[in-house]
Symmetry: D2
Subunit: 324 residues, 4 copies
């Protein structure tokens, strides 16, 4: 497993009540340096244009090298500026839509400059809050067309669409694994796929393992964001602190489908030290992976095939409790 972390983790962690953040602000460079303190971290996920500009690429590469990190994913930031508030790719304003596509294309170009072939798009502002607010059909068409245009821009760069059911809009268009895959199928480009954010899956009442398998079957599982929550909201908590069994199951299926991409941390440690929160997340993931190893993939496959859930539960527990 190769781990990456979103640079936002090392920011000031604002919410709407403490808009100035729970910690003092940090520059992108400071965030990279903080990331380098996380044990076992190999990559960082970075937003364009909010984290860096074209001119920063050289400096970033040097710094990353010095920090023994590389860029996992360049994330297209089409949400953190107020101009996107009524949507980026689906904005009623054509100029806004064009600008959004332009930024996406630049992100794709810069991704290659930064040495990665992977771009993430989370279209968090593309949605609606109220009934009678948007034309759903027109919006869907705009999504398909704009993503198509981005995908065609450079077929050698993979674009992963990250779905989320709500926040910051009360309803986001690309909401669930089903809709994400539907959209991607309509776009119909080999280099356009889906990113699973485990917390987003959980808050849409998906079982992350099932969503992993569904995407992998369609060769569309491009990337992974890891965090945890209570199934109710995108709390972006330390991985494994709530849904331990779901984490174990998802890691099992990631192995089964041969996932060889990044294990990207996407937590939001409002009140915790970011480096510590990342360390705990990675260690929890490793625990889950070690547990699978201990039980054995063959045995897990057999248990599932036998379809006797009480026995499966018993086996898993025995393995966990063995030495307690």
């Amino acid at each position: 497993m190769k781990f990456s972390a979103g640079l936002w983790i090392f920011g000031s962690s604002a919410d709407r009540f403490v808009a100035s953040g729970y910690r003092k602000p940090t520059s992108t460079d400071e965030r990279i340096r903080l990331a380098s303190k996380v044990k076992d971290l190999q990559g960082v996920d970075i937003h364009y244009p909010s984290d860096f500009k074209e001119k920063d690429v050289g400096r970033l590469k040097d710094l990353l090298k010095a920090c023994k990190l590389r860029v996992g994913t360049v994330c297209v930031d089409l949400f953190s500026d107020a101009r996107w508030m009524n949507g980026a790719l689906t904005s009623p304003d054509e100029a806004v839509r064009s600008e959004a596509v332009k930024i996406a294309k630049t992100s794709i170009k810069l991704a290659k400059d930064l040495g990665t072939d992977q771009v993430a798009m989370w279209l968090g502002q593309d949605g609606y809050d109220y009934t009678f607010q948007v034309d759903y059909g027109v919006s869907w068409d705009r999504l398909v067309e704009a993503v198509k245009e981005c995908g065609r821009y450079d077929p050698s760069v993979k674009i992963g669409l990250e779905y989320k059911i709500k926040e910051p809009r009360t309803h986001i268009f690309i909401s669930t694994v089903g809709k994400a895959l539907l959209l991607v199928n309509e776009v119909g480009l080999k280099n356009v796929g889906v990113i699973i954010d485990v917390g987003h899956a959980l808050m849409a009442f998906e079982n992350p393992a099932e969503s992993v398998v569904l995407l992998a079957k369609h060769n569309k599982l491009f990337h992974l964001h890891l965090n945890d929550n209570y199934g109710d909201w995108d709390h972006d908590m330390i991985v494994g602190t709530v849904h331990l069994w779901e984490l174990v199951e998802m890691l099992f299926w990631l192995q089964e489908v041969g996932y060889d991409g990044w294990y990207g941390l996407d937590i939001y440690p409002y009140r915790e030290d970011p480096v510590q929160a990342c360390n705990q997340s990675i260690e929890n993931i490793k625990l889950a992976a070690k547990f699978i190893e201990r039980v054995g993939a063959d045995r897990l496959r057999q248990l599932i095939r036998k379809a006797d859930i009480a026995r499966t539960i018993g086996t898993l527990r025995k393995e966990m409790s063995r030495h307690l």
Copy 2:
């Protein structure tokens, strides 16, 4: 609008605590007679094989005729018998899967005999409850194959798949509009589409209007089940008693996309008189439709295009309050 009602509405309305039902049991014939008392009802939705057998077709047709009703949809019952408890089309037991397909085919045949070209499949037992319980990929393949086989059986009969995120399983495979449409696309048959149950949409945090438009865009909106709930569970309440604005918006979009199918009632009046509950549901739908007429589809389109939500809210309210 042509209204139909599920015959289950007129049953004894059991739940797990009052498994014998809140009312005394009724035969299928009695249910049809009760349905005939609902004002403005033109059709009934009936389950095979739980509501009738092959030999009953003649009698049913006579009775329906006498009651001035026709069959809207024949619903394939692959959930109410304990043999389906680990899935029908995705059961680990091949014999169960075959039996399920056989029943589906018979339903298709009987639908034609009963004078309708519409069959509904709600695969409520096809899912899982626990982690590590099923092989998601195998299950998906089984779904695709089995639905394909059903769809090919008689291309002149439309099969609508009804999605639901949970209940009776904690997780159902065909869970959301996105996954339903994805599955239907993979099946790839013209006569296989999707049924929206408004309550199922709401409990998956979908806005029914959006799901209507998405399905209609793909020519896959085959049928409609109407009821209401609090967004938390499939309470199957009287239509329009909670989500009034969502109902209005959905009716508007149904008109816009030219939906000309049934408006099927799927409520579950545990503690209410079924005929009254249906009457109130239909009247509430008509109120919503009248309201749209009053505001005017043109004006609604304009309001949406102008994308000024405060103004839209104001206009809708003014129209509603006009004569209060």
Copy 3:
């Protein structure tokens, strides 16, 4: 820890779709015999009047003795008969309310006959489904008065009120730990307290540990029902299969507050063998308890006092992974 199990676990496990149940029906005696097969079980929870009548007491006592079981709690059944559908203690019909109180009193008497001083009341039908359906103030007064009357009937028997936010009503009056404790305080009798059903707590977005402590502080934690779910609904799953950390934390706090009552299983194994499902539940609870022992209560107290959550998470994981 002394474990009991609700006899309903060994019933046919109906839901509204399979109202006849997922297994064949069992008599009360058969259920007791099945319960006796559960490893480490010392007690059963039994409903009056649905599980037994006055005349059955002698036979039941003999059977229980032969099975080496005793009665943990007599549960007042004021929900499984259609006559309670509009409420038992808050029914608009005075005759129904009187009948409900009478049954509660008989339950209290029979509890003593059966050798326990503990009665459970879950008022699942006392609530409402729709807006404008009930007078909330009148209902609250009726609850307080009726519970008071029951409590005064025999001060030597403890009555535990079990809260639940919904099902079978869309809204139940005694919904949360806060409202349950508020009601109990208004009743003001030493022998009237609260039962926590862990699944009910979770579905009301309570952390069971917090609710345990709150009740214990007020000397009102009378009994415990154990099961699990996804935080969304009362799925009554095998204990520890979803919320493992919450289970561990709750067991820790139960120890801290000196809880010495029953650990009552309240699962609903629709598709599982009831004996196996109970066994797995008990073993999972024991694993959690063993884990606490391993970490050490002193150390847990210290960790909480130090208020460094990343460190706490790390310590817990290390202890869990130690020998994996």
Copy 4:
């Protein structure tokens, strides 16, 4: 009905993704001037110390007078500064707790200076995010003691505690109407009561009308915050845009219990013009009130007493559709 509005409505409306806000920042004075443009607004709710300092009182009074506004409630801000991140009244740090009480007392004093006898306390940071994070019993005691101290500081000023189940913590201690009332009862002071935020009630799956009645029965309904959401989160939407029937019912019961306090707007118009959003909210509330008047309180009381919900639904609809 007298309407007030929180000054935060007229701020920049930040969220964690657009931490700088969807609009440009405004000073407190500008916010008051914006508030004065809202039709029918008589009061504003203002936070101490974030909105003003002691020295500003004179200027504020002059400005408010010029704007024909008065202060409805002074809200104690114990959440918007990072120092409260681990709790204000329940912080593990005694110095933080003392500072919080001190600010609360100053707020009470300044409330009187500003001509109101009403203070609001929303303890949004007092809670926890993870299991094993806090000692629930100690926290509860700290809450009771600190609120008691605040309440005793000036018995002529009413302190309303505003409950909320989550955000910004994943779990807040004062979470539901039941726990709020329980706490207030333990504090045992006449001038300490509860504030209902309708959106907070909805997201805890309370029916606001029921919570209004419960608090009023105990003479503890001190204040009201109005907004709307989808029952899932505190979206702080324009009033009446989702839960129209619940709004109507709540207004009815507010009349029934003789509520004569403020109708305080607490919306968060991220993407809407704040003045317009307030206007629409007030107009929607007025529509609901007009509707009650039209139906008649007597008739509503009768309908509820008759306990025939289908008939009630019918009557309400007929009245609404009358002139459409």
